[in-house]
Structure formats: C-alpha cells, structure tokens
C-alpha cells in the first residue's frame, strides 16, 4: 500500500479564544485509498484531539461531513486523497456561519427545510383497513431522483444566490418540496406553494447550476427548480388570467 505525506491545512476557529479563524497545517501520512475524512480522523486520533468536525457514516449516506476541500463543497468521505496534490486545504462549508473549526451553524437550513413541509400530505385520509396507496413505476420515476437528497448542504455552499441573498429558500429544500409535489399520493402542493412561489422561494434562483454540479447524490436540484418555475408560472397565469378555473 502506497503512502503519501499530505500537508493538511485545516481552518481552525474557537469562538471562546479566537477573534477570527486561522489555518493550522498538519502533516498526515495518508494511504492512497484514503479519503479526506480519514486524514481528519488521523489528525483527531494522533495529532490534535481539539479538532472539531461532523461525521458519522463514512459512506456518503448521512450527509454530515460536508466541507470545502480546496475551495469546493465536498463530502469529506467521498473526497479521495489520490485526486489531490500534496497539499489539501479543508474549510467549513461556505455560506454558513462557523460554530467551531469545521462545524457550521445549520439552523437556517433546518428552518427552511421545515417551512416547505417535506413530508407526504395525503390527498385523502383513508383508514389503514382501506389498503395501501398504490403507485405505478412511472409515477415513482417522476420524483425518485429527488428522494436521494441527504441534506448535506453542499448545494447551499455552492449556490452564489444563497451567499448573496440569505433569505433564499435554496436548492435542497425546493427540490424536496418538488419531490412531494410530484408524488401521486400527495395533496399538499398548495400549502407548499405559499413558500415556494414567494419571492424568497424559487424566484431567487438564477439557474447558475452549481447545486447540481456539487450534489454527491446526483439529485439535480437545478433541474427540479426549473420544473418548479414552469409549474409556478402556469399557476400564476391560471390564477390571474383564468380566475374562474378551479384548481
């Protein structure tokens, strides 16, 4: 197994002692098949126990180890060392306040996610005895891709609009709203549109497309947002030009 000495430049910030963030460099002997998260774990275990960062599954499922690796939003568990040079710079996710070291404050995203009601709001309440809600493979296909979102927030770190306009509901939350709107069992679109069709909703998106480029699960939030724009535009014309048409 080949081993390489990597200079890992990590952003450090302790709100209790530091007036501003600084970089600290660790020399880490990395195996070729390691990911950046392995290197961070090596630092934590062997070099500096005070380093703080979030992680859990180490297999791109939990979405907690999102961070900037050489300036790009990445899951640390999916960023392979062999794809980088001998110097790797690791910073907390862009566009979020820093809580400590690589840990960001994510309350803003959590609140936005909750505001779009990302859960099934059944069209009709039916008792369990009435049986299951059936769905064809074609119906499933209209939203399956959007169910793969793991809430890692890489898309928010990549989105220049979110950086400029913090009120923007953002890619993942709108893509998830779209996921439930597209679900044949769901009847909650009108409730979600109150948030989605607002100015801070989908209309802050300028279709830069960076969200889809960085998404580790290939959700394509940018595509979802364009579909939401088309649907919201049709809504608007219906509401204003054909008010007699019942939804």
């Amino acid at each position: 197994m080949s081993e390489r000495q990597i200079q890992l430049e990590v952003l450090r910030y302790n709100p209790e002692t530091d007036s501003e963030p600084r970089f600290q460099t660790y020399s880490v002997p990395c195996l070729n098949e390691w990911v950046v998260l392995d290197a961070l774990n090596y630092v934590k275990d062997n070099l500096d126990t005070t380093l703080s960062y979030r992680w859990s599954c180490h297999m791109a499922v939990c979405g907690s180890c999102g961070m900037m690796v050489n300036g790009e939003p990445k899951l640390a568990c999916k960023a392979f060392i062999h794809e980088y040079g001998d110097q790797i710079r690791v910073e907390p996710l862009a566009n979020f306040p820093i809580e400590r070291d690589l840990v960001t404050v994510v309350e803003d995203f959590i609140a936005k996610l909750a505001s779009v009601k990302p859960y099934l709001i059944p069209k009709e309440d039916k008792p369990v005895s009435a049986g299951e809600f059936k769905q064809t493979p074609a119906q499933l296909l209209t939203f399956k891709q959007y169910t793969l979102c793991i809430n890692c927030m890489l898309c928010y770190a990549a989105c220049p609009q979110y950086g400029l306009v913090p009120e923007f509901i953002g890619p993942a939350a709108i893509a998830l709203a779209h996921r439930y709107n597209q679900d044949s069992r769901d009847g909650g679109r009108d409730e979600r549109q109150e948030v989605i069709a607002s100015h801070e909703g989908v209309w802050e998106c300028s279709f830069v497309g960076a969200c889809s480029e960085v998404c580790p699960k290939h959700v394509d939030p940018a595509g979802a947002l364009q579909q939401v724009k088309v649907a919201s535009t049709i809504d608007w014309y219906k509401e204003h030009l054909m008010p007699w048409v019942k939804k």
Binding site: A197, H199, E200, S232, W236
Partner: protein, 113 residues
C-alpha cells in the same frame, strides 16, 4: 409569504431562452453562410423580403427578436448580480433600455416593409 409576480417576467424570459437555445444558433449559422456567399434559394433576399412583408412573418420575426432580447437582457442582469455587482437598479435600467431600443427598432423597420 406573498406569492411573487415574477412569472410575468419569467414566462417571456423562459420563452426567450428556448428561442435563444434552438433558433438563434441556426440564424447565426445561416447568416454566416450568407456572408460567405452561400445562399439557398429559399433564403434569397426576395424570399425573405416577402416573408417580412406578410403580417404573420412580421409577427414571427418580432416575436423572435423581442423574446431573445428580453432573455439576453435579463440573463445579463442576473449574471452581473452573480458576479458580485451590487448596483442592480442601474444594471436593470441599462440592459432593459438596450433591449427596448432593439425592440422598438425592430418594430420600426418591420412596419416600414
């Protein structure tokens, strides 16, 4: 949160985007061919003049140019904002003014045919 009226602007913007993606490259290519002296009989001056003289032809030409200009102006405004220029009001006035100028000129020349 109140629903946005953005669809009024976004509808023509999206239509313009579709035209810019599918029609504009063809027009650029045909114009290039014409510039190089290769003009298919269907695209001779007489044929195109006759097309522009018909009210339906006028409408098509006007629609293509209006929507393309509107799309380009709006796209440029948003891109400039993404690049970090914070004078959105000023940028909006400049780009929409240029687009309006082009639209009015199109109308003027079409009505003269």
């Amino acid at each position: 949160m109140a629903k946005s009226n953005k669809p009024i602007f976004w509808g023509p913007f999206a239509a313009g985007g579709t035209i810019t993606a599918f029609v504009t490259p063809v027009l650029v290519l045909l114009t290039l061919f014409a510039a190089l002296g290769f003009v298919p009989s269907l695209l001779t001056y007489e044929h195109l003049h006759a097309f522009a003289a018909n009210w339906l032809g006028k409408l098509v030409i006007f629609g293509v140019i209006l929507l393309s200009l509107w799309h380009a102006a709006h796209r440029l405004r948003v891109t400039v904002h993404d690049l970090g220029v914070r004078a959105d009001g000023m940028v909006a006035i400049v780009v929409y003014f240029i687009a309006s100028l082009g639209t009015v000129a199109t109308l003027f020349y079409l009505l003269r045919i």
